[in-house]
């Protein structure tokens, strides 16, 4: 799946991998985020941390009608206030994506797949 944009010079396609790696990096810089996790933790059994080249397994961009949403699967540190971590992730990821790609994202949905004791 790609995100399509049009400028006056022609079309632009941005791949999900590109979005995922930007969103993934932005999320990882957030305080309290230990790593990205695969969406299919049930099938893959444990909430493993994703390596950099597999970020797209933990980040999804979706299009409904004219706007985009992001789904982000993360693992957070144990002993921090999770609600705040999550809302900071949403804020940061939305800000970075909108600044980087100049696309509006209607929502950044964050799923906490696990906690990690450090």
């Amino acid at each position: 799946m790609v995100i399509e944009k049009k400028s006056k010079y022609g079309g632009i396609n941005i791949s999900l991998e590109a979005i995922a790696s930007v969103a993934g990096s932005a999320a990882l810089e957030c305080y309290g985020v230990v790593g990205l996790a695969s969406k299919n933790t049930l099938r893959e059994n444990i909430a493993d941390l994703l390596k950099e080249d597999a970020y797209h397994k933990g980040v999804f961009a979706k299009k409904d009608k004219d706007d985009y949403t992001i789904e982000l699967y993360i693992i957070v540190a144990y002993g921090v206030k999770i609600t705040e971590i999550v809302s900071e992730v949403q804020k940061r990821v939305k800000y970075v994506l909108e600044k980087t790609f100049d696309i509006k994202f209607r929502a950044v949905n964050v799923f906490v797949q696990g906690l990690k004791t450090l």
Partner: protein, 556 residues
């Protein structure tokens, strides 16, 4: 002091929280990372007050008990990124004190080091040039130097000095800070906390400074006006527990229930030991004597609303009603209009200027206090109009305004006119035509933005050099667009330079809006000089009462 115990730590915490409270608007103003939303100071302040509240009622001699309670309070009350990091620093700090009753300087240094360790653990890719850097460098320097012969206050003094040095270096580590010319906001907040700590160790526990932006309650959000009996609009600020005699303990919920049974339109906001109450009641005396059982009044205001109402019916001058509730109530009854404008401004004069230009609703805010998306959404929901325009009047607020559009996108027609300065906003309002079509208005208003050059005079919060101009702390600096053109300790002199640089052959109108701290007389003299020099240019001087900016200048 060779060692400190729980009582000492408690004093430090309260003093630290108060010091941060006193300076949080300053910290807010520095906030550009990770998202430039200007809320770091407020978030840290709320986090710290939650921690301080937890220890306020404890009297343990054991330092561990106090540190643990503080850590718990911070964790539960953590707000925002810096708040969460602060909570982790003190979580580590508390962990290092386990089983200890008193600590000396070395143990104190080790506790800070543990705080740093724990704070760093919770982040995969730490970004340097933030609060984390400040705590890391300061605690490492202290741990390196400290020995058994040190006093605790000496150790903290040393650490504070190192932390300040480290804060100064943050722009070298995080490019965005350098670009904007600020230091890290979270780090600055941490230093305020440490300043409070130090002061408490020297037996000067810092008090809350009431002059610092006491948060105004968001009145009226949904206060029901249905069965309004006219009585007295009563407002007061109560300091709980103040005064000589013994006061009753204050239970917020019970107090609120009593208010509810005595009147309506109740707004009650509590901030630690301060309660602000707004109520419409027939018998204000009863409320006052009840409230006085818990503390003493800081301010009081009572107005007779029936009086205002009869005036109203007599003269039918709805516009002149001073009582905001009434005017708002009436506004709500009005028919749906075609257009409405929402503008962001701070200062009574500016608000008046925008109101004169048919702006329906002012969202209070500006450079140091950016309104949230939520504020726009609430404002727009209150307005009955087919199309709403938003004038953010500040580059930092454009994003929040755009988000409000995204939130309301489907239900309402909302357009952001991306005005980056107050003069741009004013010009856009002047181009607004209630009779024209939406497209025409959008085109005219957007077009107007580029027709005006904006300048401003403000003061510097630190020594710096930007665009080749050296600026000292507290000096005035002149901004033309985004560029700094002059700096001088005298605000009128700086304005002189700014005007000289902005006015050219094409200039026809110059608008000068003077803010808090500027004197009309001195300004007049300066303007006269310019009027003589530029015969063709019209000078319009207005009182804006805006904070932060001594002067705002628009050149057309």
């Amino acid at each position: 002091m060779k060692t400190i115990n729980g009582i000492d730590l408690k004093k430090m915490i309260i003093s630290g929280a108060n010091q941060l409270y006193n300076y949080y608007p300053e910290v807010d103003a520095l906030n550009v990372f990770p998202v430039p939303d200007g809320d770091t100071g407020m978030n840290m302040n709320l986090t710290m007050s939650s921690g301080a509240k937890e220890v306020a009622n404890r009297n343990d001699e054991d330092i561990y008990e106090i540190a643990r309670a503080f850590s718990k309070g911070l964790l539960m009350g953590a707000r925002g990124n810096s708040g969460v990091i602060t909570s982790q620093i003190f979580r580590g700090f508390a962990m290092a004190l386990e089983g200890k009753k008193v600590i000396n300087a070395v143990e104190f240094a080790e506790a800070w080091n543990m705080g740093k360790e724990i704070a760093y653990k919770a982040v995969m890719r730490p970004v340097e040039g933030t609060i984390l850097t400040v705590v890391r460098e300061a605690s490492a320097a202290l741990l390196d130097q400290v020995n058994e012969s040190w006093q605790v206050e000496g150790a903290l003094d040393f650490m504070l000095k190192e932390a300040r040095e480290s804060l100064k270096r943050t722009p070298d580590l995080l490019p965005i800070l350098k670009e904007v010319g600020v230091v890290d906001s979270g780090g600055a907040g941490l230093i305020r906390i440490m300043e409070g700590f130090v002061s408490a160790l020297y037996d000067k526990v810092i008090e809350k400074n009431q002059a610092t932006a006491f948060e105004e309650p968001r009145e009226m959000a949904g206060a029901s006006m249905e069965a309004e009996e006219f009585g007295y609009c009563t407002e007061f600020i109560l300091r709980i527990g103040a005064g000589e005699s013994e006061k009753k303990p204050f239970v917020e919920k019970r107090f609120n229930n009593v208010l509810n049974s005595h009147g309506n339109s109740i707004v009650m906001v509590r901030d630690d030991d301060i309660v602000k109450v707004h109520i419409h009641t027939l018998l204000p005396g009863n409320i006052l004597s009840y409230a006085q059982q818990f503390g003493e009044f800081v301010t009081l205001k009572i107005e007779n609303m029936s009086e205002q109402h009869s005036h109203l019916s007599d003269d039918n001058k709805l516009k002149d009603v001073k009582h905001s509730h009434q005017s708002l109530h009436n506004a709500a009854d009005e028919e749906e209009k075609e257009y409405a404008i929402v503008a962001v401004a701070a200062g009574a004069g500016l608000e008046k200027m925008f109101k004169e230009l048919r702006v329906d609703y002012i969202v209070s805010g500006g450079q140091t206090m950016n309104p949230a998306t939520e504020d726009f959404v609430t404002a727009i929901k209150k307005i009955k109009a087919k199309h709403v325009f938003i004038l953010p009047n500040n580059p930092n607020i454009v994003l929040a305004a755009n988000q409000a559009v995204a939130v309301l996108g489907e239900e309402r027609s909302v357009n952001v006119i991306p005005s980056k300065t107050i003069p741009q906003g004013l010009v856009a309002c002047m181009m607004f035509n209630p009779e024209a079509k939406l497209e025409e208005n959008l085109e005219e208003m957007n077009g107007a933005l580029s027709s005006v050059q904006s300048g401003a005079i403000t003061f510097s919060i630190k020594d710096t050099t930007i665009d080749g101009i050296a600026i000292k702390k507290d000096d005035y600096m002149a901004l033309s667009g985004k560029k700094i053109v002059a700096s001088n300790p005298d605000m009128y002199h700086t304005l002189d330079k700014l005007l000289t640089s902005m006015i050219d052959d094409m200039t026809s109108i110059v608008t000068i809006i003077y803010g808090e701290g500027a004197e009309a007389k001195k300004l007049d003299k300066l303007v006269k000089k310019f009027e003589n020099k530029f015969g063709d240019v019209e000078f319009d001087v207005r009182e804006g009462n805006q904070p932060v900016y001594a002067f705002l200048v628009g050149v057309e």
